[in-house]
């Protein structure tokens, strides 16, 4: 698989304190890459740099290149809003707009991107996005109900549908299951396997078994450095770096 996203010499800081030290790695197209590592290791910062979300935090800055399909997303002429449409994101806690209806939640991204569609096209897109997020069957009879009426697991899939509605190419997921029960988690993980046929997926997770179950590649980060990157199978049976070994076997200080 060709590389969809290439990160080169990325350094990121908060108020001049460097949180990410010269990170370089490639994300293969139509594959799931998991980023693991202890709290504060820079994994969330890394994914937030990939869709230019890092720079919206006051005092945050970064240097280096993030190349999407051969194009540097940090080039001066690039519109960050356009980047975020092509590289969607799902967050740790489900964040539906609580009073907005289920269908309006799905279509919310369109409005933010200044896209207006005819009613029938909009309906078709809502249905398609909910189907891709494996939520359609559960909500098709109550699309007008508020987003907050859904369970936590359903809300998270609603957020996935919302991210998919703007037809991104890359999906960033920052601990998407940490607030979900095991069944809802299993549904999201199953969803990842389906979605990777269409999208390139980068998932940050604290749950190492989750990384082992659903990713093709795994990156292990520690204290702002990328320590090891490789096929998930290799990382979990025979990592090359001592730090990775200690972390995944639970020997971390």
């Amino acid at each position: 698989m060709p590389d969809k996203v290439i990160v080169r010499h990325l350094r990121a800081s908060f108020n001049k304190v460097e949180a990410l030290h010269d990170v370089s790695l490639n994300f293969a197209e139509n594959r799931v890459t998991a980023i693991i590592g202890p709290s504060g290791c820079g994994k969330s910062t890394l994914v937030r740099c990939i869709n230019r979300m890092h720079e919206v935090v006051p005092g945050a800055s970064c240097t280096g290149d993030v190349i999407l399909d051969g194009e540097n997303i940090y080039a001066p002429a690039v519109d960050p809003v356009q980047v975020r449409r092509r590289i969607g994101m799902v967050f740790q806690k489900p964040t539906p707009f609580p009073t907005m209806s289920i269908e309006d939640n799905v279509a919310a991204g369109l409005k933010l991107n200044g896209i207006t569609l005819a009613r029938s096209d909009r309906d078709r897109l809502v249905e398609q996005s909910l189907k891709r997020a494996a939520l359609w069957e559960e909500v098709k009879d109550r699309l007008g109900r508020p987003g907050a009426s859904l369970s936590g697991g359903q809300q998270q899939r609603l957020c996935v549908a919302r991210a998919l509605a703007v037809e991104p190419e890359v999906l960033l997921m920052d601990e998407p299951c940490s607030a979900l029960d095991p069944i809802s988690t299993a549904r999201i993980e199953e969803l990842l396997l389906e979605l990777k046929a269409t999208y390139t997926i980068i998932i940050v997770t604290h749950n190492m078994q989750q990384a082992a179950r659903c990713s093709d590649y795994t990156a292990f980060m520690y204290a702002g450095d990328l320590i090891e990157f490789g096929e998930t199978r290799q990382i979990f049976t025979n990592p090359t770096r001592r730090e990775t070994e200690d972390y995944i076997t639970g020997r971390f200080g």
Binding site: M208, Q209, A212, F236, T237, N238, P239, T244, E245, D246, I248, T249, G250, R251, F252, G253
Partner: protein, 229 residues
Amino acid sequence: MENSQPQHTNRQYEEELRGLRAGLLKMGGLAERQIAEAIDSLVNRNTGQARETIERDVEVNRMDTEMDERCIRLLALHQPAASDLRFITTGLKITTDLERIGDNAVNICERAIELNQEPQLKPYIDIPRMAEIAQTMVKDSLDAFMRDDTTLAEEVIDRDDEVDQLNYQIYRELLSYMAEDPQTIPRATRILFVSKYLERIADHATNIAEMVVYMVKGRTIRHMEKKKP
């Protein structure tokens, strides 16, 4: 592994891994003793000792089940990864090899009991030699397991050829006895079986040694053509 790596944050997990290691060591010690006693009962024509050794096999079998359960519990409850995963899966396989070694010791005892009922065919020379090598191989393979020592494991694997040669030598010698005097056939075939059991024991030690290489290096060397010097 134990000395060079920091301990697990989860102390119960650490304890369970240590327990498995200690259990396998104990089981290995028992298997070694079974081989030694089986051969003694043959060489010294001690039928009582052979019977005691057969009875003691229950203990080897009990430990086999216990080690299996420990491994399965560790896999189910702790989702081990990397070197821990390789250690536990190696443990799971080693326990089977040790149990089979115990069975082979029992088989030696059974043949010894039969042989002890008849006059000795010939003085046992090569059999004790072969037994000593096989026993050392078992001991060394377990030492290699305990110390993560792949050099020792590879020595064990190399020594398997020596046992195979002795097995062939014994076969040829017994064949000449049987050709000369058909009366010797019942005894000679029993000795031949003993030689085969020892050869199998050495194979099990080789399996353990190969698993040690996998455990330490994460590389499978089983079922590969042995490199010729």
